[in-house]
């Protein structure tokens, strides 16, 4: 207690020296804490991304090349230009004309069947699946929304008056309770609701806002699809003209309306853990045959998303280590310099009858005080700074992966709105790195401070032991 009081008094009475040490060390510890926090946030986000992205295996008819709506019966190469994520080039929607038990061929487009789904469901590690079929509305009752290119666009003069009419895309899904499960990440139900679980075969639809507006539809209205009356139960918006020109139906309803009983255009298979994704994908390929189904995982997507984040995490880790080393170096050098500056003081104390341990104790506690104050300041600085540093470390926080894409420009019916290929939306993931600084940071700060103080004890202990009062007081 006595030594504690001496240490506090020595610091208090030499405020400039103390403030300088606290300042330099505070910056260093603060940087280390920020890097620890940011590193933790990056790791957490990477895990989240992996859990969101990495547990889905997408199974589509062979030749449909990954994500996006597959427009059954489309002609020739899909125009799919602008749509789709990196995993979803809208390739030619022409499947192999096989007559496999698991596929049907109709109008040149292969589809999967429920038999394939059952086979997939029996594979180990498969935790669930979502089936979808996609169609283009071809009736007369509904009119799609239109879009006009900018006046200076090279296409401006080639479009009909009133602009380009966006195809109405229809998706049937057996997982309608959350539209986000379809990859429409930013979907927002603006009125009504989505499907209920007991409406698997009901003639109900959730339609996009553009489609509703173009046709004057509101919740509760009905419209015809292939001579069947369908009720609008909800209207959604995605914030894009293309996305808002689609409609969603329960899978069995869509199958009935488009005469596609037992068919599936895409299966999103949920694997129990991210580690089992690759093995499960291989098992599906083996079960269905690679000439029947294209089986894609989102490892590539995950890699694409996580690469900048992983780089940033590496940078933050290096920064953290560098900052910790710098902190240790700063405190060691500071203590060494201070001890050297105070050699006469040490000599006087020893001449007055202070033991080595009393002097070392005082200097150690002084160092501990400085380190703790610096750590608290560093911890407090972490709160406002960590997010900024994290944003700075992520090279492109606005990178977009997947999500709604635009339909192909003028390729006719082959153009498609491309949704994210998986169960989970992956759009704009990097922008969501949220660095939440918790009060635990003070625990880390304290641990660092005490660690540094402990390290810094070595110097005064060694130095004080060597100081001979007769020598240091001799040359006055």
């Amino acid at each position: 207690m006595k030594t504690l009081r001496w240490a506090a008094r020595a610091l208090w009475r030499a405020p400039l020296r103390a403030a300088l040490l606290v300042g330099v060390l505070g910056v260093s510890i603060g940087l280390a804490l920020i890097m620890i926090t940011v590193d933790g946030a990056f790791d957490e986000r990477l895990e989240e991304i992996q859990s969101e992205v990495g547990t889905t295996v997408t199974v589509q008819p062979a030749g449909s090349f990954g994500g996006g709506f597959i427009i059954r019966g489309s002609f020739g190469p899909g125009g799919g230009g602008a749509g789709g994520g990196p995993n979803a080039p809208n390739g030619p929607n022409v499947g192999d004309a096989t007559d496999d038990a698991d596929t049907d061929v109709d109008d040149g487009q292969a589809t999967l069947t429920d038999e394939a789904v059952e086979a997939i469901a029996s594979i180990e590690h498969v935790a669930g699946y979502t089936r979808t079929i996609t169609e283009q509305y071809s009736g007369d009752e509904l009119t799609g929304g239109t879009i006009e290119p900018p006046a200076d666009s090279p296409f401006a003069g080639n479009l009909p008056a009133g602009g380009f009419q966006i195809p109405i895309l229809v998706t049937g899904t057996d997982n309608p309770t959350a539209l986000s499960s379809l990859g429409v990440e930013n979907v927002e139900i603006t009125s009504g609701r989505t499907f209920e679980s007991d409406e698997g075969e009901a003639n109900v639809a959730v339609i996009g806002a553009s489609l509703a507006e173009a046709n004057g539809l509101v919740v509760g209205d009905t419209f015809e699809v292939n001579e069947a009356e369908v009720e609008v139960v909800g209207i959604f918006t995605t914030g894009t003209r293309f996305g808002d020109n689609a409609m969603f139906l329960p899978l069995d309803t869509a199958r009935a309306l488009f005469d596609r009983e037992g068919e599936v255009d895409a299966i999103s298979v949920r694997v129990d853990t991210a580690e089992n994704v690759s093995a499960t994908a291989d098992a599906i390929r083996e079960t269905l045959g690679e000439d029947v189904a294209d089986v894609t995982t989102q490892e590539a997507t995950f890699d694409a998303i996580s690469a900048p984040l992983a780089d940033a995490a590496d940078s933050s880790r290096i920064g953290m280590i560098a900052a910790l080393i710098a902190s240790a170096a700063i405190i060691l050098f500071s203590v060494a310099i201070v001890a050297r500056q105070r050699i006469k003081e040490i000599g006087i104390l020893k001449a007055l009858g202070a033991s080595n341990w009393q002097v070392v104790g005082q200097m150690t506690l002084e160092t501990a005080f400085v380190a703790i104050i610096a750590a608290v300041i560093g911890a407090l600085a972490t709160f406002p700074m960590a997010q900024t540093v994290a944003d700075g470390l992520v090279s492109d926080p606005t990178i977009q992966v997947g999500g709604f894409g635009a339909p192909g420009g003028g390729g006719g019916r082959g153009g498609g709105v491309v949704l994210d290929a998986g169960d989970g939306p992956v759009g704009n993931l990097l922008g969501e790195v949220d660095v939440a600084v918790s009060p635990e940071i003070f625990g880390y700060a304290l641990a660092i401070a005490l660690g540094l103080a402990l390290v810094a004890t070595v110097i005064p202990a060694w130095y004080v032991g060597r100081v001979k009062p007769a020598e240091v007081l001799r040359y006055e």
Binding site: W6, R13, A14, I348, A351, L352, G353, A354, P469, L473
Partner: protein, 241 residues
């Protein structure tokens, strides 16, 4: 003087054939070269000689700030030659009080805090007791009361030396060692300090002053003269070695 004679004549301190050499490059400096002397108890003793003659080294040996290469030193009846560790610390704390040429006060402590410091190291008195004793010691060395809470930087040289003397008295040691205590003071202040030290030398308390100032030496009960590490003269008191 024989060992037996020294022991019989045991005063505040007895040195017998004390040697302390230093290495300076390839040369050996014979700072203290076979000194034997008895310092009488309760006297003001001046250790006189030119700079570099070994006065300070002898004081350091007596204060256990340094160890002799050979010989023995007995202070207050106890051999301090082989002291180490806690015993050495306790000796410095309880048996000797130092007064340095440059005062050597703690710059970040006030005058009174400098005086309480040895008491804190000893740990016997509570804060109030230390404070009261320090006040009385500062009064004794005639430091103005309104200067008690000043830091050394706001005290004159003479005042700082008074504080240093009060600090040396803090634990009531039997031996006060003053190394050129007036060297950095003007003559008037120096005389005051010497008078103060003179007043302290009585009863069981011995004051040993290292100085090259003959005026100061003249006020001592005993003057011991050193040259080149050896004792070359003794003036006053009983005959020494």
């Amino acid at each position: 003087m024989s060992n037996a004679a020294i022991a019989t004549n045991a005063g505040a301190a007895v040195l017998e054939d004390v040697v302390k050499h230093f290495k300076s490059g390839s040369d050996t400096v014979r700072a203290v070269d076979g000194v034997s002397v008895a310092i009488p108890r309760g006297k003001l003793v001046a250790l006189k000689g030119p700079s570099g003659c070994g006065k300070s080294t002898l004081l350091n040996l007596l204060g256990a700030l340094d160890r002799p290469d050979s010989g023995s030193i007995t202070v207050d009846g106890a051999d301090i030659t082989g002291l180490s560790g806690a015993a050495e610390v306790a000796y410095r704390r309880d048996k000797v009080g130092f007064v340095f040429q440059m005062f050597n006060l703690m710059p970040y402590l006030s005058a009174i805090e400098n005086v309480t410091l040895p008491m804190e190291l000893r740990g016997e008195l509570n804060a109030q007791g230390r404070w009261t004793l320090a006040e009385s010691l500062l009064e004794r060395v005639k430091l103005a009361p309104d200067h008690h809470r000043r830091r050394p930087s706001r005290l004159s040289g003479g005042e700082q030396q008074r504080v240093a003397i009060a600090r040396a008295l803090a634990n009531d040691p039997p031996l006060i060692l003053a190394d050129e205590p007036t060297a950095n003071l003007d003559s008037t202040t120096g005389e005051q300090i010497v008078r103060l030290l003179r007043s302290l030398a009585s009863g069981d308390r011995t004051v040993l002053i290292a100085t090259h100032d003959t005026v100061i030496a003249r006020q001592a009960d005993l003057v011991i003269t050193m040259r080149d590490g050896k004792l070359v003269g003794r003036d006053g008191g009983s005959p020494g070695s």
